[in-house]
Subunit: 261 residues, 2 copies
């Protein structure tokens, strides 16, 4: 899972942001961090502290004097920009870019993503080095992503593009139920549960009048079908029904006996 | 673009994190922030400062004493968890959940997302209130998302699910169960149902011994949460419980009287 595109921070100002960016990267399996001309020098104690143990990234940072040098070995380069540039440039969302990058890396091409300084972003000269601009769609009325958040989102998309469920570019995949290996109830288990419940409800006069019974039974069964019950859950529900009915009878008798003592 | 799911922070510790979460929300068009029992009280100057002008969110925060109160009006509730829980629970990725939430909100159902405290996440009781657990796929060798980052990613997915590029994205929306017009049960309806059932089961001595009660209650509630009950279905189930218990008592007395005539 490790590897992936290189992240290049161009002239970052705060060590904290470098550390938080490193942490964001490692959360999503990115390890190659390159820094162009960090304002407060390198190594940075603040970066170290705020990276929360992302040593694999921080310890292997490479520092360059110019963006050109930092990206010299890369085949595909993306530039993240917040503000629109007055350039003709290929654009992609972070999600689209993630799938493209994965294709390139699968083909053994090296890929990198440029992030600009906190205050003013990338220079036009830096953006020009890239083939593609990544725009992160954001609320136009309030766009205030910081450097580490932008790295987080791009890294997140990279990671998601590699998970099985998204391998074909769809966000699809059916929601799963828990991670437990507890077996699902069989249809027979369910029918026994339904018959137990319906038997008690018939006795209680709940499933009346007769012409409405089929529909009421259908609705009740559907409630439990929706829950996709496991074997253990069917046993629990049968215990609940038995407990409610048997106990209620016993309690009524006890109270009656107490009164008539 | 504004609106969307409510974000509920349960017992957050640091004002900074509340502010950063508010900022993450507004970046992606979310505005309804609810806080359960913030450790350092509310309002919080630190939250204000770190929200970087996300006043629309911060100024409208509502504070609650319990999670139940905070989510009482919501129809669909999601719980974000980092560590796996020992529960049978419907699971979705942040992306899948975003598409589901949008469908629900388009159908005028209120939706919320629970986020736990920085240190220990959500309690099992809080997770049990939700129908679905959101897991953010992350590098298993280094999973260190903080609270505001988790909010950022979930909000990001919310916003992306509404952008044109994924409008037809086959995003694995909820298999809508049954007719859309039947309203979903609110969280409050569900809690009343649970309390009704658990009250009867306590009386019947089913939820024993006491040290096992919390786990038994958790498992039972999760069965019904998985069913994603509608209002009508909750009424049916309450009728079932009442019928089983009241009728069983009556029947026992009738039989007793018959014998002793």
């Amino acid at each position: 899972m490790l590897g992936g595109p290189s992240v290049i921070l161009v002239e970052p100002q705060l060590g904290e942001n470098i550390g938080t960016a490193a942490r964001a990267m490692l959360n999503f399996g990115l390890t190659d961090l390159r820094i162009v001309n960090p304002r407060d020098g390198w190594p940075s104690e603040k970066a170290q502290t705020s990276s929360s143990g992302a040593d694999l990234v921080i310890d292997n940072v490479r520092v360059f004097e110019t963006t050109e040098e930092a990206v010299a070995d890369l085949k595909f380069l993306y530039a993240t920009t917040a503000r629109p540039r007055d350039m003709f440039k290929r654009e992609a969302t972070a999600r689209e870019a993630a799938f493209e990058m994965r294709e390139a890396i699968d083909a053994s091409d090296k890929v990198g993503i440029l992030f600009g300084a906190e205050r003013h972003g990338l220079s036009n000269a830096d953006v020009t080095l890239a083939q593609t601009v990544i725009a992160i769609p954001v609320n136009p009325a309030y766009a205030s992503l910081n450097l580490a958040q932008a790295v987080l989102l791009v890294a997140y998309e990279w990671f998601q593009s590699g998970t099985h469920q998204h391998a074909d570019g769809n966000a699809g995949g059916r929601a799963r139920l828990g991670s437990k290996t507890e077996p699902m109830a069989s249809n027979q288990d369910l029918v026994h549960l339904f018959e137990h419940l319906e038997g008690e409800l018939d006795a209680a006069g709940f499933l009346r009048p007769p012409e409405k019974r089929p529909n009421m039974v259908k609705n009740l069964r559907n409630i439990f079908q929706k829950a996709q019950l496991r074997e253990q859950e069917v046993r629990t529900l049968r215990g609940v029904i038995k407990s409610l009915t048997v106990f209620a009878r016993q309690k009524a008798l006890d109270e009656f006996n107490k009164k008539n003592k």
